[in-house]
Symmetry: C2
C-alpha cells in the first residue's frame, strides 16, 4: 500500500467538506457571535464617519480666514457627541476630537498651534490649510461598502467593526456539532485508578479543547472499549452530530473494532499517510455522518488533527480560507537524510530560529508542551543549518 501525500489527503478532505450541505444560518448578537463564521457579507448602512469631524482638540475655522497671526473670537464650543450650529463668519469654534465640524468650517487647528488671548479670543500662529485635521464624511466607509466578507471568523476586531457600523446582530453559521471518542481498552478516564497495562486518556482532552477553540459544539462520547458489540451500540446512539472524530481504534489490526463496524455498516477509507508523526488516518462515514479516525499516539493525534482535521472542520464551518498562518524561519539543525514522509517537527523558536526539541516520537506529548509550533520538513528533502522552512505556530494552529 503506497503512502498518500499530505497534499493529496488535504485535497480529498477539503473536497469532501465542500461537498457537504452548508450549515444553517442563525442570527446572533455580537457578543454571542464571537468566533462564529459570518454567513453573509456585512455592508455599511451609512457613511462612516457620518459627518466630517475633528481629529484633534483645537479650533474649527474657515481656512481662508486664517493667516499667521490671525485672531478670531470663539463663537461656540463643540464637544464630541453634540450637534454644532453653523460657524459664524469671522469666528472660530472650540472643538474636541471626534466632534462634528460646524457647517462653514473646513479645517481645524490643533490647540498647540494657537494662543488664547486675554479677551478669550484665539490667535493662530500659522495659516491653516483647508482640510487640516478634518476626517471627511465617509472616510472609512460609504453606504453599501462591503466591510466584512462572508466566510471569515468573527474575532475582536471584526466584531468591533460590526459594532461601529451599528450592526447589533449578525448572520452566522450554526456551530458544527462534533462527537469525540477515544478507543482502546488501555485508556482510563481521569479520576479512575490505573490497572496494569493501562494509561490515562489524553486525546480526549486534546481534541475537546482543540474543538472548543474552533467554536465547535462538542459531544464527549468518552472511551470506546475494544468490543464489537459496544462499538456498534455506541455508534448507533450518535444523534444529530455533523462529524465524529475518533482517536485510535482504526487500523488494519485485529483490535480494530471501530473500523470493522464502519466497513460493515458504513464506509471507510484507510490511508497510510506520508506524514510523520501520524501515518494511519481514516476517513469514513456512518449513517451519513463523516468519521475522521486519527491515530491514537498523542503526537500523531495532535499533528493529524492540526494539519488535516482542522482545515476540514473549518471548511465544514463555512470558513473560506481554512489554512493556518505560517512563517518561513531559519533552522538551527540539519536533517542530512531525506525521509519519504513529510515531517512536522516540534520546535521552539529561539531568537527567531527553530530549535528541534528532544524526543520527537509519536508516543510522546511532552516535547509539544515545550514547543512553540510545528516545523514542516517536506518529504524527500534534507535540510542544513540556516535553511528556511515553514513554521506553523501553535497560536495560529489552535486559533
Amino acid at each position: 500500500m503506497s503512502l498518500l501525500s499530505v497534499d493529496a489527503a488535504l485535497q480529498i478532505l477539503l473536497e469532501q467538506a465542500q461537498s457537504m450541505p452548508r450549515l444553517d444560518i442563525e442570527e446572533l448578537t455580537l457578543d454571542a457571535a464571537e468566533n462564529r463564521v459570518l454567513a453573509e457579507p456585512l455592508l455599511a448602512q451609512f457613511a462612516m464617519p457620518p459627518w466630517p469631524n475633528s481629529s484633534m482638540d483645537g479650533y474649527a475655522v474657515r481656512s481662508k480666514e486664517v493667516q499667521a497671526g490671525q485672531v478670531l473670537p470663539i463663537s461656540q464650543k463643540i464637544f464630541a457627541g453634540h450637534s454644532p450650529e453653523p460657524l459664524s463668519e469671522g469666528t472660530c469654534a472650540r472643538i474636541f476630537t471626534g466632534a462634528p465640524l460646524p457647517a462653514g468650517a473646513d479645517a481645524v487647528e490643533m490647540q498647540e498651534n494657537t494662543e488664547v488671548q486675554a479677551d478669550g479670543s484665539v490667535r493662530f500662529l500659522q495659516a491653516v490649510p483647508a482640510a487640516k485635521f478634518v476626517r471627511p464624511k465617509g472616510q472609512e466607509a460609504m453606504p453599501g461598502d462591503k466591510i466584512l466578507p462572508a466566510g471569515i471568523r468573527l474575532g475582536p476586531i471584526e466584531l468591533a467593526m460590526a459594532a461601529s457600523l451599528g450592526t447589533a446582530r449578525v448572520k452566522v453559521r450554526r456551530q458544527l456539532r462534533v462527537a469525540v471518542v477515544s478507543t482502546g481498552d488501555e485508556l482510563v478516564e481521569l479520576g479512575q485508578p490505573l490497572a496494569a497495562g493501562q494509561i490515562y486518556n489524553s486525546n480526549r482532552t486534546l481534541l475537546l479543547q482543540s474543538l472548543k477553540r474552533l467554536n465547535c459544539a462538542v459531544v464527549d462520547m468518552g472511551i470506546l472499549p475494544d468490543d464489537i458489540e459496544q462499538t456498534r451500540q455506541r455508534l448507533a446512539e450518535l444523534d444529530h452530530v455533523d462529524l465524529l472524530i475518533s482517536s485510535g481504534g482504526v487500523s488494519v489490526g485485529e483490535a480494530d473494532f471501530l473500523g470493522q463496524v464502519l466497513r460493515e455498516e458504513g464506509e471507510l477509507d484507510f490511508w497510510k499517510l506520508a506524514l510523520k508523526p501520524g501515518k494511519p488516518f481514516t476517513l469514513g462515514r456512518y449513517q451519513g455522518v463523516p468519521v475522521i479516525g486519527l491515530p491514537g499516539n498523542p503526537a500523531s493525534s495532535l499533528v493529524t488533527f492540526l494539519i488535516l482535521a482542522r482545515p476540514y472542520i473549518l471548511t465544514r464551518m463555512g470558513v473560506t480560507d481554512p489554512c493556518a498562518q505560517h512563517f518561513s524561519v531559519p533552522v538551527n539543525f540539519a536533517v542530512p537524510v531525506a525521509g519519504v514522509r513529510r515531517e512536522f517537527i516540534r520546535v521552539a523558536l529561539v531568537d527567531g530560529c527553530a530549535e528541534k526539541l528532544d524526543k520527537q516520537c509519536s508516543g510522546i506529548l511532552r516535547s509539544a508542551t515545550q514547543a512553540h509550533g510545528l516545523l514542516e520538513l517536506p518529504e524527500n528533502t534534507t535540510c542544513a543549518v540556516g535553511d528556511h522552512l515553514r513554521f506553523w505556530p501553535f497560536s495560529s494552529l489552535f486559533n
Copy 2:
C-alpha cells in the same frame, strides 16, 4: 512634554504589574482550567510510560532467539490495556501498539516483517535487535520530573499533557476581574438610534472580546457620559475588580472627566507615548485599583491594548512570559522618512511579505479587519522594500 518610548512605558507597566499582590490560587478540573495560568509546577507522579510497551502491531520476542528465518510459535496475544504473562522461552507473543511487553521479551518485530505459517507459528524475515519497537518505561517522564512550569497558560496541549499524567485537577490563578468603560457623549450603544454627532461604541466590543480571549472575568460598565458627577458616581460603584480599563476620556482637554476624578481622588500618570497610533495613554489608580486609560480612537485603542495593556494584564494574571510571539518578515513598501514615534502598521501577509493596508489613521478600524497583524517600525527608523521588520500576528496578539 517629551514623548515616552514604548519600551519605557512597557517597563513601567510590567514593574507595576509585578508589584501587585499575586492572584489567589484555586483548584479546577482540567476542562475548567482551559486558558488559566498554572500556579504551581506540574510534576510527574509515576513513570511514563509506566512499563515498556510496543510501538507497533507485531510480535514480542527475546531478541537473542531471533535470526533471519527463525520460526516461533505464538504463546499469548497481548492487546493494549491488558496485562501479559511472562513470555515463555522459544515462543513469541502477538502484541498490539501500546500493549505492555511481557516479562522476558526485549524487542518487537512489526507484522510486515513476518510471515504467519500454516500452523499459526510466525516466521521472522530478519534478525531482531534488542529494544526494537520498544518504548522503554519512563521514556517520556520519570517520577518527580517537572513537566509544566508555573506561569504558563493552559492550552489544549498542556491540558492533554496533564491528563496523561493522571492529573484530574490543577492549581491555577483565579481570573483577573477587569471592568471596561467607554467614555464620551458621542458614544451610543448598539440597538439605540444615533443622534446628530453620535457614533456607535465599538471599543466596548473590542475590549470585552479581547479580554475574554485572555480569560479575564469582564465587568461591562457601559458608556460613561461626559459629566463629572456621573463619572464620580460610577467609579464609586466599582466593586471587587482588579483593573479598570477605559477607552477615551483621559486627556488634557476640557472634556476629560475621568482624568479629573482620578487626579482629585486617585492617582494619574498621563503619558504622551512615542507610539503611532496611540499617543495618549493613562496609568492611574482609584481606591487601590489600577486604571489603564486607552485612547478613544479605535485603531489607537487596538494598538495600545495589544502592545501595552495585554502584557500588563498577562503579568497580573501570573504569566511568566507575557510577550506575544512575533516574526521577522520582509516588507514590500518603503518608509523613506523616519518618524519620532514607533509605528505599528496594519499589514496583510502576501506570500510571506508584509503589505501595508490603505488608511492607517487612528480613527479607522476597517484596515485592521483586512490585516493579519501589526508590523513594528521602530522610532527614528526608515525602511526600504525587502527590509525585514518585526511582525506581530493577530493570532498571537489575541491569544
